[in-house]
Every structure is written in structure tokens, then in C-alpha cells.
């Protein structure tokens, strides 16, 4: 039974909130139960931002993830330090190795290292690093279909940003390839 509890974390501007929203949106399009809960508060510019996402076959109780995340995606070092311990044993930790030199310290979870920023730069748009991470996440967990995420992204973008769809789609493909 599907019951993913996902943390997306990084610094403000990396698009971690959007990653979480796209997973939620895609889950909703597939008829799954979803919730998205952001951290909010007096964060510094460049400080950490994170959101908790639930995707489940069952109605969702608490939208809060305490120390039972099935997956954590960390895009910067403070996020790794903050959330590594919140992953359940056997869970997955996706690390943006472009910005995080440190390795995961736990051995009871599986860590994946994705050079998200480098891949994004290769694609000519450093802002799609989040989509690289998202592509890796979808490849590893199959929580939702890539096509559902693309539908969600299209809706989020609206008409004016539709020209950005190809680079985002490519970023997801490259992210998936990085963990194959």
C-alpha cells in the first residue's frame, strides 16, 4: 500500500516548495490522497525552507512528518544535517552532491548522490536543479507517474511559461538517469 512521507528541503529559491507541490498535485491527479505542509516562519534570505508531503492510498491523518519520513530530498548542507535523522530505517535519502560534499552518516538508510546543479547547468538552466532531484525521486520511488508531474507542472506554469516545459522534462529525465 502506498504511504509515502516525503521531506523536500533546501535553501529559499531552490524550488523545494514547488517540488513538494508538484508531487502533491500529481498525486491528486492520480486520485491519491495527498497533503502538502510548508515550514513557515521568520527565515533568513538564503536560509532553509522545507515542506512535508504525504501521498497515500488511505485518507491522510496528520500532515506532519516528525521522524518517520520514507524519503528525504536535501538540496543543501543544513538540510542534510537537519533531516537525515528523520528518515525511517530502510528509507531513502537523496542528496544534492553538487552543493553537499558530506556523505550520509547513517547505514540503515539508502543514500543517493545526485549532482543536481551540475546537471542543471549542463542543460543550460541552473534553476532546474530541483527538477533533476524530482526526476531521481520519481525513478527511485514511483510514487507518482512522471506524466502526472508534467501535467501538474503545465498547470502551475500557465501559458506564459510553457516554453520552459522541455528543459524541465529533460531535467527530470537526467535526474532519473543519475540513479539508474
Amino acid at each position: 500500500m502506498l504511504n509515502e512521507r516525503i521531506i523536500c528541503a533546501g535553501f529559499g529559491g531552490q524550488g523545494v516548495m514547488l517540488m513538494g507541490q508538484l508531487i502533491s498535485y500529481a498525486g491528486m491527479l492520480e486520485g491519491k490522497e495527498v497533503s502538502w505542509l510548508p515550514s513557515y516562519g521568520p527565515e533568513m534570505r538564503g536560509g532553509t525552507a522545507n515542506c512535508s508531503v504525504m501521498v497515500s492510498d488511505r485518507p491522510i491523518g496528520s500532515p506532519v512528518i516528525t521522524d518517520d519520513a520514507t524519503v528525504a530530498m536535501v538540496l543543501n548542507l543544513p538540510s542534510l544535517d537537519k533531516f537525515e535523522n528523520d528518515v525511517v530505517p530502510g528509507g531513502k535519502l537523496l542528496i544534492n552532491s553538487s552543493l553537499i560534499e558530506k556523505k550520509a552518516t547513517r547505514t540503515d538508510i539508502t543514500a543517493y548522490y545526485i549532482p543536481a546543479n551540475e546537471i542543471a547547468v549542463e542543460l543550460g538552466n541552473p534553476r532546474v536543479a530541483n527538477m533533476v532531484m524530482l526526476g531521481a525521486f520519481l525513478e527511485l520511488t514511483k510514487t507518482v507517474e512522471v506524466s502526472s508531474v508534467l501535467s501538474a507542472l503545465k498547470k502551475t506554469f500557465g501559458e506564459s511559461k510553457l516554453h520552459l516545459m522541455p528543459v524541465n522534462e529533460e531535467a527530470m529525465k537526467r535526474g532519473a538517469a543519475a540513479v539508474k
Binding site: S24, W36, L37, P38, Y40, G41, G61, S62
Partner: protein
């Protein structure tokens, strides 16, 4: 209609507009800012008015004025801002005018913090303003329920000519969930607002909206009439949900987002052989006293779980009238109770895991 993914604060705004709200007066405060932001964008599209007042006090008095004209009107704020609005709220209640007040509660006392809390339970159920008045207070647990209740909130406000409060917390304001905007049939037959001050055009005597009654007998009569209205609300408006009550050893009372955390704990406790029920008040005032008649004979004690230091415990004691001991587990200040915390408290109460 298809489901949409929306932030709680925005969903409240959308539901209010759908329920016919035409005027919104507010002043910014975290964690409800997305609501006035949404209203500022959407109200003009439906021919309504959004106005950012110079303060919370100004905003609630604008609500007083618009309500007096018979308009569907709403304001929103969070705990310290709601504290500032109390004078206006008791005036509106005293003048018997309908309005909806959204309160996205944050930690207190004082300026407190900006994270989720339920520490304004006493303020919303007892009234922070002066005099014998009551608000009808809804406390939905998820966005769908919040949206579904919004039509009812406006209708009940008009029907009883009384302010209605919609209570959430920072979590419900900030989170996103799929929502369906459904047609909710009204439970109320709403009479014409023949009391509104809309101009006499020389055709009738002026309507007077007022909460000042200097003659003691007149004021007592006014209070007796108000009380009859509150009695009718007590008889007809108390709402709750009961969950997993069969053979429960402990029954937890929790509302709003806290009830969701409790529900997770109940499922996990069941797997460990401990049967726990839940009474979830949907209205905080009137408090759903009748829910406690459903507590099974197997139950040995009640547990209040709150994001406060135990403000709801008194109401549970009154409603259960000494039938069971009442325990408390809570977090405050923006700390959120965990299912584990709730489970440990229950285990302590029943004497360890089985």
C-alpha cells in the same frame, strides 16, 4: 466539480466568496496573510470590496458598519489581532449583526509566536469582549470541511443575526490539500434583512443599530432575548464526530488539526491492542455535550489533547459531568503534539502496553 489543490488560507477566501461574501476588511498578520492577499485579488472580480484597514480595530468596525447595512461581510486575523478585535466583536454581538470572523490561531500569550496553536480556546468560546454574548464557533479539521462549513457559517450568522467564528491554526492555514467546492444546501430559511440600515427613502421609519441600552429593564430584556437565541444555538448547532468508540478503554477529545494527529495515534494504538475512541468537536461553542452520551461502558477515562495548556479540559468536565476522570496531554507555543506523545500518554493511563 473537479478537485483543486489549494492552500488553506486561500481556500477559505474562495469558499467565502462562493458563499456570497461581498466585503472583506482586514489587517495583515502571520499565519493568515494568504487570505487577505487572496481576497485583494479576487474580491474585485465579483464586484466586492477588499479593504486593508489601518488596524485590526478599524477592520472589525468596518465589519460592524457593513453588517449593519445587511452585507455579507468577513474579516480575518490571528490570535493577537483577534484580541484587538474583541471590542468590535461584542458590539456586533450586542447589536445582533451577522458576520464571519476567521481566526488562524498562533501561539500566545502576548505577541507569542507564529506557529500553530489552539491556545485561544477560552477566548473564542467565552468571548474576549464584555457582556453576556456568545459566538457560534466552528473548528474544522481539514480543508474540505473548512470549505464545506463556510456556506453554513454565513447562513447561520444571518439566521441568528450573530457573529460566527471559523477557527483554524497555522497548520490548516498554510497546508495544501485537494478540495472540491461543492454545492451545500442551506439548512436555514433566511428572512429578509428588514432591520438593515439601507436608507428609508422616506418610506419607513429609520432602522436603528445599537448596542447601548441605558435603561436597566430594557437592557435586561435585550439580554433575555439574546440568551434565548444562544439557547436555540445550543439546541441546534452543536456538532461533533465520533470515531472508533466501540469498546474504547480511553476516549480522546481533540479538535482541528490536533484531531488528525490523534487519529494516527488511535490507529497505531489499535495495532498494539489498545482501543481508543475520539470525540472531535466540530463546534467549540456550543460544545457538543451530547457526544459524551456515546462514550461506551468500557471507557475508564477521558483524555483531552490540545495545542494549549489544557483550556478545553473544563468544558469536557462540564459535558461529562463527573462520569469519567479527565486527563490532559498537550503541547504549546507552536510545538505540535506527535502521535508518539499521545500514545505514551494513553499507555500511561491504561497501565502500559499489552
Amino acid at each position: 466539480m473537479a478537485k483543486v489543490l489549494m492552500k488553506g488560507n486561500e481556500a477559505i477566501g474562495a469558499a467565502a466568496i462562493k458563499a456570497g461574501c461581498k466585503y472583506f476588511f482586514g489587517y495583515p498578520i502571520t499565519p493568515q496573510n494568504e487570505l487577505p492577499e487572496y481576497m485583494s485579488k479576487e474580491m474585485p472580480k465579483v464586484g466586492g470590496v477588499f479593504l486593508q484597514a489601518e488596524s485590526e480595530v478599524a477592520a472589525i468596525n468596518m465589519v460592524y458598519g457593513a453588517a449593519g447595512c445587511g452585507a455579507r461581510v468577513m474579516t480575518s486575523s490571528s490570535s493577537p489581532g483577534i484580541a484587538l478585535k474583541q471590542e468590535g466583536i461584542t458590539y456586533i454581538a450586542g447589536a445582533e449583526l451577522p458576520c464571519v470572523i476567521v481566526n488562524i490561531v498562533r501561539g500566545g500569550p502576548g505577541l507569542g509566536g507564529i506557529q500553530p496553536a489552539q491556545s485561544d480556546y477560552n477566548q473564542v468560546t467565552r468571548g474576549g469582549g464584555n457582556g453576556d454574548y456568545k459566538l457560534l464557533v466552528y473548528a474544522p479539521a481539514n480543508l474540505q470541511e473548512m470549505v464545506d462549513l463556510m456556506q453554513e457559517a454565513f447562513d447561520a450568522a444571518d439566521y441568528y443575526r450573530n457573529p460566527v467564528m471559523m477557527v483554524g491554526d497555522g497548520m490548516i492555514g498554510q497546508m495544501m490539500e485537494p478540495i472540491e467546492f461543492r454545492e451545500m444546501p442551506s439548512r436555514f430559511e433566511l428572512p429578509a434583512k428588514d432591520w438593515a440600515t439601507t436608507g428609508t427613502k422616506g418610506a419607513r421609519k429609520p432602522n436603528v443599530i445599537n448596542s447601548l441600552f441605558l435603561a436597566p429593564q430594557q437592557l435586561e430584556d435585550h439580554n433575555i432575548r439574546l440568551q434565548a437565541k444562544y439557547d436555540a444555538m445550543k439546541a441546534n448547532e452543536a456538532r461533533f464526530e465520533a470515531y472508533n468508540m466501540e469498546n474504547a478503554e480511553v476516549v480522546i477529545v481533540a479538535y482541528g488539526t490536533t484531531s488528525r494527529i490523534v487519529r494516527n495515534a488511535i490507529i497505531d494504538l489499535k495495532e498494539q491492542g489498545i482501543n481508543v475512541g475520539l470525540i472531535r468537536p466540530i463546534t467549540l461553542w456550543p460544545f457538543p455535550d451530547k457526544a459524551f452520551d456515546l462514550v461506551p461502558e468500557t471507557c475508564k477515562s477521558l483524555l483531552s489533547v490540545e495545542m494549549s495548556m489544557g483550556q478545553m479540559v473544563d468544558d469536557i468536565k462540564i459535558a461529562s459531568n463527573g462520569r469519567w476522570p479527565v486527563h490532559f496531554y498537550g503541547r504549546s507555543g507552536g510545538m505540535i503534539p506527535t502521535p508518539e506523545g499521545v500514545m505514551n500518554k494513553v499507555k500511561e493511563m491504561v497501565g502500559g502496553a499489552k
